[in-house]
């Protein structure tokens, strides 16, 4: 009697009178003896339907490979057998830690990006903080890791959390370049979805790959229940510093959300260019989201480089410049003298008045009547440096406020004086504005369609409004300040009050060559994350924020990975004769120089002043520099009093793997043991572990053609140069969730983004990554984010569909039988795909191999490719020779199956043994953590009274720690290490020799 075999992904099983293809197996209870078996229907009755069976309720019977029925392949050239075998190979999960870049997507992989993927895969359960500097292609790296996980069958459920302004960008990058379909959900979308599904159904389980904004998820408490019951394969949090938690993390909604998700997911990727704010606990919290067992201290304040090593990667432009080549262009700073003009006479008067005001406040320091705020000390001055309009508005508010308080305040005298000077001034007359126009002339900008795109940053809304009005008058442009008009105008403004959707549309228009938009006037709302570099390389800082962080973020909008032109930076400056304010100029100059220094170094901008906050930087520069008259202010770190930040940076740089050597060390496991995997890092010279008989393009065409011949209503597939045109037949439309299909059933597992749906249901696919790159650029020229041509990757939903349809061409328990003249008469080649799974159902080792049988020679194992070559498989023609099916049936097949299982058993043991050192190292780390944490907590509890709330918290921490360790043993170890008792195998082809 055959042993009871645990269902494993890829296996065919019988359940409820139908045959199913197992796609995934999860333990359904804590004993790990029962499973939830995820299946997709594989016979006529249930084809395409998804179902989950519980082994404790349903009898799930594997289709026994010993009883396989041979079916003579009658197609010409054995197309059926070839395509069926190819489909089988394509649904084989990949294993190992080497990424396979071939056909992964449309992008040019850089060495450092490939290293990231290796790093992630080596972790078995990728949990990684990507802290690369601004503009180094973090999204691409996320796409690469997700692709590899999908190939391993480990990313069917993906959740991406991003900022609202980034949703479309992230979604379209992953779809255009990798064929990874993320469905966007917002609160509206979730509400609508819940109307379509039964009320007790979890909306997060309907779609399998979701992108959602952090705000949507965190604000609505009602999702918590659903999220707690949803398991993900991979959670990605973009701009993860937003979830690091403020001073009271427990009350911080985003942090609580992230913590909840981190416990409900297998893999987790965090990306941010600013992984900490100088406080140890913010970085510690991010690391503990990845792995609670990294840092023993429950407050995440005490940790060493050793504790956090391996959980994060942090690289700077300088680190990767050699790698990146033309993808990283050098930026040009227009010399500051060329963008400096002297102040006008009127302006000098205001500067003189401002200078007097500053003098007076200094002299009266401590005087009750002069108890003024930062606004009077330097705020009004900073506003005037931007525009008269901006200054006037603030000034008037101040006058009203002071008058209310005391109408005799000596401050009023000065304020009124400045106000009367300002009353006759406007931005159009200001030297700064004239300078802007002169610079626009230099660039060749006049508002006409031929003008290059220009990005202008200003600090203040009033300046932005005044600028928009003045520019539209001077260049005769129609301009409306209405938000929804912005994407359609030549001149557009975005700022904090702009609704997200308008902001996204405007950003998209700015990156689209065909849009009319020529100039984007932005406040700093646009300075985090968004891509503005696609059609623009000119940036003008109309005024100067007194913060290095803000300036770096601003410049990073156009100076980023993939910018093809040299970014040109202009800082506008108006110089004054006024003696007292003259000193400020050297501070501003230093500020700009510092930003450029950082750009050429391998440091974060935050490390200059060590304040980690733009506002704190502004306050510091104003108080210590401007008011104190200290022009050296930027040379000293502000945080001399904060050794914490210095220490943290030392720890990070110690823990961050720098250079190739550290990488190798990590990849090889940091010990001297002989590694079991290939030690070469250059995957280009490594033979792909994935076996393919067809490349993606041929598979797409020939697979579809074969299916089309079998069904009447499939229209023909066309080849047009490098592009393949496929009109989606009805069943594909349904499966991909076409907007035109008003189904009752939501095909959540296979749906693609509705935004990406082609107008005429016609998909344009190509396997040429350059071609897709062009199409993505073309989209930016015409329509926006969504490319019309798609990369034909093996995880592309259309190719997946073809694969699954081909797999179903054979009936239950059947396998094609073909003949070959290359093999001796009587020789039989049994081709198998088998796997050895872990107890939790994850494939540990998957292998395609052949068992040859020769009379008198017994059974011999061969790698599949070798066996196929011996049989001349690729060039086989169907000569109509029947062979002797009856002779093969029965004991011969059974013996071949035994030989295959034997081989797989050996393979499985080898695999487990090769992973043992890794498992032991990891468990040792865990044990170490547990001991240290126990000790730490015990010593802290000892110092507190038993009822102290902190003591209670620590005791809870202890309990949680035990639960976590148990969970690690049960889930982690059983998923990746503990082998199930028996391998499974499937006979996929029999070749009979006729020579």
């Amino acid at each position: 009697m055959p042993k009871v075999v645990t269902p494993t992904p890829g296996m065919r099983v019988l359940c409820r009178d139908a045959e199913w293809l197992v796609t995934r197996v999860d333990p359904s209870d804590h004993t790990h003896e029962n499973y939830a078996v995820h299946c997709i229907g594989a016979d006529d009755l249930v084809r395409g339907h998804e179902a989950i069976f519980l082994t404790q309720l349903d009898a799930i019977e594997p289709v026994d490979p010993r009883n396989t029925q041979l079916v003579r392949d009658q197609s010409s050239g054995y197309r059926l057998a070839k395509l069926f075998l190819e489909a089988q190979l394509r649904q084989m999960p990949a294993t190992g830690v080497q990424p396979d870049l071939k056909g992964m997507g449309a992008f040019k992989p850089m060495n450092f990006q490939v290293q990231t993927v290796q790093w992630a895969l080596k972790q078995l359960r990728p949990r990684l903080l990507l802290a690369d500097a601004v503009g180094l292609g973090k999204t691409i790296q996320v796409g690469m890791i997700l692709s590899e996980l999908m190939r391993r069958g480990r990313a069917s459920r993906i959740l991406v959390l991003a900022k609202k302004s980034m949703l479309t960008q992230f979604q379209s990058e992953l779809w255009n370049r990798f064929g990874i379909p993320l469905v966007r959900l917002d609160s509206d979308g979730i509400a609508k979805l819940r109307l379509r599904i039964p009320s007790n159904k979890n909306p997060f389980e309907v779609y399998h790959r979701i992108i959602i904004s952090i705000d949507t998820l965190k604000n609505v408490g009602s999702y918590r229940h659903f999220l707690e019951n949803t398991r993900w394969d991979c959670v990605v949090i973009d701009e993860a510093h937003n979830v690091a938690g403020a001073s009271v993390p427990e009350r911080h909604l985003a942090y609580r959300l992230a913590r909840l998700l981190s416990r409900r997911t297998d893999s987790m990727l965090l990306t941010t260019a600013t992984p900490h704010n100088g406080k140890r606990e913010t970085f510690g919290r991010l690391i503990s989201l990845l792995d609670p067992s990294a840092i023993p201290d429950p407050d995440f304040k005490e940790y060493s480089a050793e504790d956090i090593k391996g959980f994060f990667l942090m690289r700077f432009k300088e680190d990767v410049r050699e790698d990146a080549g033309e993808n990283l262009t050098d930026r040009m700073l227009v010399p500051i003298e060329q963008t400096t003009v002297p102040a006008s006479e009127d302006e000098e008067k205001v500067y003189a008045a401002l200078s007097e005001l500053r003098e007076e406040t200094k002299r009266n320091k401590g005087n009750e009547d002069w108890k003024n705020n930062v606004l009077v000390q330097y705020g009004i001055y900073k506003q005037f440096l931007s525009s008269p309009e901006s200054c006037r508005k603030t000034l008037r508010k101040r006058i009203v406020a002071v008058q209310k308080h005391s109408s005799t305040s000596p401050e009023l005298l000065f304020l009124d004086g400045i106000d009367s000077l300002l009353s006759s001034m406007s931005i159009r007359e200001s030297s700064r504005y004239k300078l802007l126009k002169a610079q626009l002339d230099e660039i060749g900008w006049n508002g006409s369609p031929a003008s290059p795109r220009v990005l202008v940053f200003t600090e203040y809304r009033e300046t932005q409004d005044a600028l928009a009005e003045a520019l539209s008058n001077d260049y005769k442009l129609n301009y409306s300040s209405k938000f929804e008009q912005q994407p359609k105008q030549v001149l557009a403004t975005i700022n904090g009050s702009c609704p997200d959707i308008c902001l996204m549309d405007t950003v998209e228009a700015f990156g689209t060559a065909s849009s009319e938009l020529r100039m984007l006037l932005a406040t700093d709302v646009a300075s985090e994350g968004v891509n503005l570099h696609h059609q623009c390389h000119n940036i003008i800082h109309y005024d100067l924020p007194w913060s290095i962080i803000t300036l770096i973020q601003r410049n990073g909008r156009i100076d980023r990975f993939g910018q093809l032109q040299n970014p040109v930076l202009r800082y506008l400056r108006v110089s004054t004769r006024d003696g007292m304010l003259k000193g400020d100029e050297s501070i501003f100059e230093r500020l700009i120089e510092k930003v450029e220094e950082i750009n050429r170094s391998t440091r974060q901008g935050e490390t200059v002043l060590k304040l980690y906050d733009p506002e704190a930087e502004e306050r510091y520069i104003a108080q210590k520099g401007i008011l104190h008259g200290d022009s050296e202010v930027l040379e000293k770190a502000a945080a001399q009093s904060s050794p914490e930040a210095n220490e943290l940076e030392t720890i990070l740089s110690q823990a961050n793997p720098s250079g190739q050597e550290d990488f190798l060390k990590f990849l090889l496991g940091e010990t001297d043991e002989a590694p079991s995997q290939s030690t070469t890092l250059d995957s280009a010279d490594k033979v792909s572990s994935r076996l393919r008989l067809y490349d993606d393009r041929r598979f797409l065409i020939e697979g579809y053609r074969y299916l089309a011949e079998l069904s009447q209503n499939y229209s023909a597939i066309e080849e047009n140069g490098k592009v393949i045109l496929l009109s989606a037949p009805k069943d594909l439309c349904r499966r991909l969730g076409a907007p035109s299909e008003s189904n009752d059933v939501v095909f959540g597992a296979t749906a693609i983004p509705s935004e990406a749906w082609p107008q005429d249901n016609q998909f344009r696919l190509s396997d040429d990554s350059d071609r897709i790159e062009l199409a993505i650029r073309a989209a930016r020229n015409t329509s926006g984010h969504w490319s019309r041509e798609l990369m034909a990757t093996d995880q592309q939903p259309i190719l997946k569909w073809i694969t699954e349809r081909l797999l179903m061409l054979m009936k239950r328990g059947e396998c094609p039988h073909i003949t070959s003249r290359k093999l001796e008469k009587g020789e039989l080649c049994f081709c198998f795909i088998g796997q050895f799974s872990s107890r939790a159902g994850a494939p540990l080792a998957v292998d395609a191999h052949a068992i040859s049988f020769r009379k008198g020679g017994g059974f011999q194992h061969r790698p599949l490719r070798e066996a196929l070559d011996r049989a001349g498989f690729d060039s086989l023609v169907n000569e109509g020779k029947v062979g002797d099916l009856d002779a093969i049936r029965g004991p011969l097949i059974a013996s071949a199956v035994e030989a295959s299982l034997d081989y797989l058993r050996k393979l499985g043991h080898q695999h487990v043994e090769s992973l043992l050192p890794l498992l032991r190292r990891e468990n040792r780390r865990l044990r170490n953590w547990k001991n240290r944490r126990e000790e730490l907590l015990a010593s802290r509890i000892e110092k507190l009274s038993p009822n102290h709330p902190k003591a209670k918290m620590y005791r809870k921490d202890l309990e949680e720690m035990d639960a976590y360790i148990r969970d690690r043993e049960e889930n982690w170890q059983d998923t990746y290490f503990t082998a199930s008792t028996e391998p499974s195998t499937q006979l996929v082809l029999v070749i009979e020799g006729l020579n």
Partner: protein, 138 residues
Amino acid sequence: MGDQLKFEPSNLTQPQFHQLSECAHAAENLSPQVLITAAKQHLERTQAAHASNRLINLRLATAIVSVLEELVNARGIMETNQAWWLRGAMYYFTTSNDDEPDFQSPLGFEDDAEILNACLKFIDRNDLCLNVEDYDNA
């Protein structure tokens, strides 16, 4: 520290030290021969369990037993006063359901090795100490 008189093995966690003391009490009246026989029997059990569970660290268990044998065979060691602790370490090895269960955890013999190492250091036989990481490979 080197010159200071040592009264008990150090570098163990509190619970480990506690368990070692208990084992030492339990083994107080057992002869080294009885203990080494028990240790060998435990190794046989480990071999049997390893056949079906490759995660069990048989290599480390074997190494521990050969160190124990060496101690028992070495002249004089088991007769000293400090041997009280060594007997405890031997007894500890023979219990399978200890800090890290021998037949369940992939680190099942790590705690046994740590306790043995602490006792070896205590009797100044650092040369016999085991580096557990050397036994990570299957």
